[in-house]
Amino acid sequence: MGGAQYSVLCREDGGVLDDLFTYRTAPDRFLTVTNASNHDKDLAWFQAHAGDFDAEVHDAHDRYAMLAVQGPRAREIVQAMADAPLPNRFTTATRLLCGRSALVCGTGYTGEDGVEILSDPADAAPLWDELTRRGAVPAGLAARDTLRLEVCFHLYGNDLMEERGPIEAGLGWCCKEDTGFIGADAVRAVREAGPGEKLVPFTVTAAGIARQGNPVIGGGEVTSGTLSPCLGVGIGMAYVPAERAQPGTELEIDVRGKVRPAVVGTKPLYRKENDG
């Protein structure tokens, strides 16, 4: 109880319907956080398969708002609002934050320490005001995208999609085929045979930024790309033929008609400890 687990939701053929964080809020209760754009699809999928199990599926979409407080001071700021110690990394607990009940989760999508706060939607605005009053700084989607790409976290719709499986996406670590999950046979087959393409992190080695949809010359495609503020260069992720997925492999990316050189890196592309 109180655990948090990242995983992928697969179709029978192994294609990735969504990637999810699931929190165990009671011995027999699990709260899973969908990507908003996939929510209806995921819910229908769970409901279609729940009948095979002793399980009930409820849509909690309207019961929660989520605030992600991330960064070196995140825990300090949230702790000062909380009635009890915050849960550790990858665990969750219900806490009162300035008197408002919230599920506090030691998770995030930035590579930094921090928490995610699931609260009643009516409490989200007051909590936001309290967090910013105590020093939290609002960050937009582009800022968030630089952080998650520096640590090579996948973004559904960019790096994950129904047409790709978890093995080629580099998410074999969260698939346990022996549990017999939907798609396990397909995932096992790809794991054993090896995927034709693999998702790799890359760094652009000249000026410029490769972005989603840019072709990799010789096969493959960029699925995410931005400028890394910490590294000062273009970074991203791309599916490339498996034989070209080794770290150090030089790539050429067609960025709107101009060829940009890049090199396959290792995850994460940026580690905070390296920063001086």
Binding site: A142, G208, R211, L227, P229
Partner: protein, 128 residues
């Protein structure tokens, strides 16, 4: 650059470019509004010196962390100089869009195209 400004001595194109006329040549850049909308510029892809540009057509790219955008030529002509300092300091486009952040100098093929451009008051009114 903290505050919006649209100098009176420049002419403006609705695609958020400015033009500084100097006889039959002109300096091009993007306006305060454009750099503010882009956010921090991290990359400038200049046109080649000697290439020709056509009014209302893209001639360069500016890229911020968020997005890459075409820069539209406000007038037609031949590129005679590009701001090479921007390769090391693209943020000059944000910090000084009408000065150090200039993009290119163009020998105009049809100086009368200036009649299609906007003055500062008309351009800034179009933004509100």
């Amino acid at each position: 650059m903290a505050d919006a400004s649209y100098p009176d001595d420049l002419l403006y194109h609705p695609e958020h470019d400015w033009v500084r006329l100097e006889g039959d040549t002109a300096t091009f850049g993007i306006t305060w509004f454009a750099q503010d909308a882009l956010g921090e510029v991290v990359f400038f892809e200049p046109p080649e010196v000697g290439s020709t540009v056509s009014k209302d057509e893209p001639y360069a790219e500016v890229e911020s962390v968020k997005a890459v955008s075409d820069v539209i030529a406000p007038m037609s002509g031949e590129i005679v100089e590009v701001n090479t300092a921007l390769s090391d300091k693209p943020e000059a486009i944000n910090e000084d869009p009408y000065g150090d952040g200039w993009l290119a100098r163009v020998k105009l093929s049809d100086p009368s195209e200036k009649d299609d451009l906007l003055d500062a008051a008309t351009y800034s009114k179009s933004l509100s």
